[in-house]
Symmetry: C2
């Protein structure tokens, strides 16, 4: 999909400007708005009181009218080129057209619009291709926000998801910094059982399995690409002694570390 | 392309850890490193003193060895899945393999790795697809950085490019806030002729042409989708009177504003 024109964080102060967009024939191109202040929308004959942090994706020919609800109207806006509009893609992502939808948090989306403004007007190397990728990301993120809004409604849970992802990242990238499950639960500020339950819910696998996988992956990499001793590798993978490393590796891979190394 | 594993800003302090990556058989998978501290690399038998803010993209089976040059070694690292590695794409972008390259500024690239870490381990809605788009952006940006490094060598020029892009964005998205060329040159802190020359060089078109295009585009949009009067539209498009708007619109579009409006 391609951008026709795009603007980030345009502020209309009703004190200085009687901002009313009245478009009886529709916006003329597909138009995405990230609405940052309370607004009144009339779309296809239906009137909406729209909360801040809402979005609307409008069809080119749906009559629409919008203005501020209070003193200021602020939005990000993106017009797409009609020829390049991929209707099916957006439908498949579950993004509705011509209805304002409250999102709650739009920071990430708005940040993407900010990046896109630069890509669109900079004429920098590769900017057309980068623009396309970022548009796809914008719609994928919009779809994610809509879906997460339904299954986990509070912002608190999404912050918890962020914290859990940090823990999971550590499990896979710094297995030697990962203690046992009780330590991880303490890092998340939760009980052991609560932690294990939510981990499973968020990632579809258990924390124990991830710990073992993180250690085994790193061990394989170090065995195949370095000359480190088995003892050194066991430390770098978070084992307190090489024998438990050797036992667990054999269980997972079907070979001892030494057999694995010489088989490559 | 797909990520095997990924880590952001891993710090190895030589006081606590004798960090040496010695991989006589190569890293085993394509490996991208964003190197943030001075380092020593031996790749395919050749030794390099690598400056901070360099990158290297290594083939799976090129023997390599790397360690800190000073007290600390820090990098971002991305292993790619061998099956999904798109060699042609990366070649076409002009990104060399198995040679460390100094980039100067890696903030944007490193920020992308940071985002990718979250996408890779979060298991969030659409994360696999978003990861793929961001990997493409990472390589497109890397290619851009390499190319801009050659044609405009100083960081100063890239800051100027950023400022010029802001001005160009205003020309297209807020034509009513744009004065004449002298005003824009003053905003850029340059003489009129210096401003016009660099504008042409950066964007391949003149500032005057862009101003007229920005105004005409907005005028067309407002004529076709709103009921605003010609006088109101001329103001919103940055004209000081409606007659110069009418004259210029006719020159550009071949119809008067009123004719254009009734023809849609």
């Amino acid at each position: 999909m391609k951008i026709g024109s795009i603007g980030y964080n345009h502020v209309h102060d009703m004190k200085y400007e009687n901002f009313i967009m009245d478009r009886p024939k529709g916006p003329g191109a597909v138009l995405l708005l990230l609405i940052k202040t309370p607004a009144v929308f009339k779309v296809g004959g239906v009137q909406y009181q729209v909360k801040e942090n809402s979005f609307i994706l409008m069809s080119p020919d749906t009559p629409c009218y919008y203005t501020a609800q209070e003193n200021v109207y602020t939005d990000d806006w993106v017009y797409f080129e009609n020829d390049d509009w991929d209707k099916e893609y957006v439908e498949k992502l579950g993004i509705p057209m011509d209805i304002p939808v409250y999102l709650g948090d739009m920071d990430e989306l708005s940040h993407l619009v900010h990046i896109l403004v630069y890509e669109h007007y900079s004429g920098a190397v590769n900017s057309e291709e980068i623009e396309k990728k970022y548009i796809d990301v914008l719609f994928l993120m919009l779809s994610r926000t809509l879906k997460s809004r339904n299954c986990m409604s509070s912002k608190q849970l999404s912050e918890r998801h962020y914290r859990f992802t940090q823990i999971r990242t550590m499990i896979f990238t710094m297995p030697d910094h990962v203690g046992n499950v009780d330590d991880l639960a303490a890092q998340a500020g939760m009980s052991r059982s609560g932690f294990q339950h939510l981990y499973k819910k968020l990632f579809g696998t258990t924390v124990i399995k991830d710990i073992i996988e993180g250690r085994t992956k790193r061990a394989k990499r170090l065995l195949s690409s370095t000359r480190l001793t088995i003892k050194e590798i066991s430390t770098r993978c978070g084992y307190t002694n090489e024998y438990s490393f050797m036992r667990q590796f054999k269980e997972q891979v079907g070979k001892t570390p030494t057999e694995y190394r010489s088989s490559i």
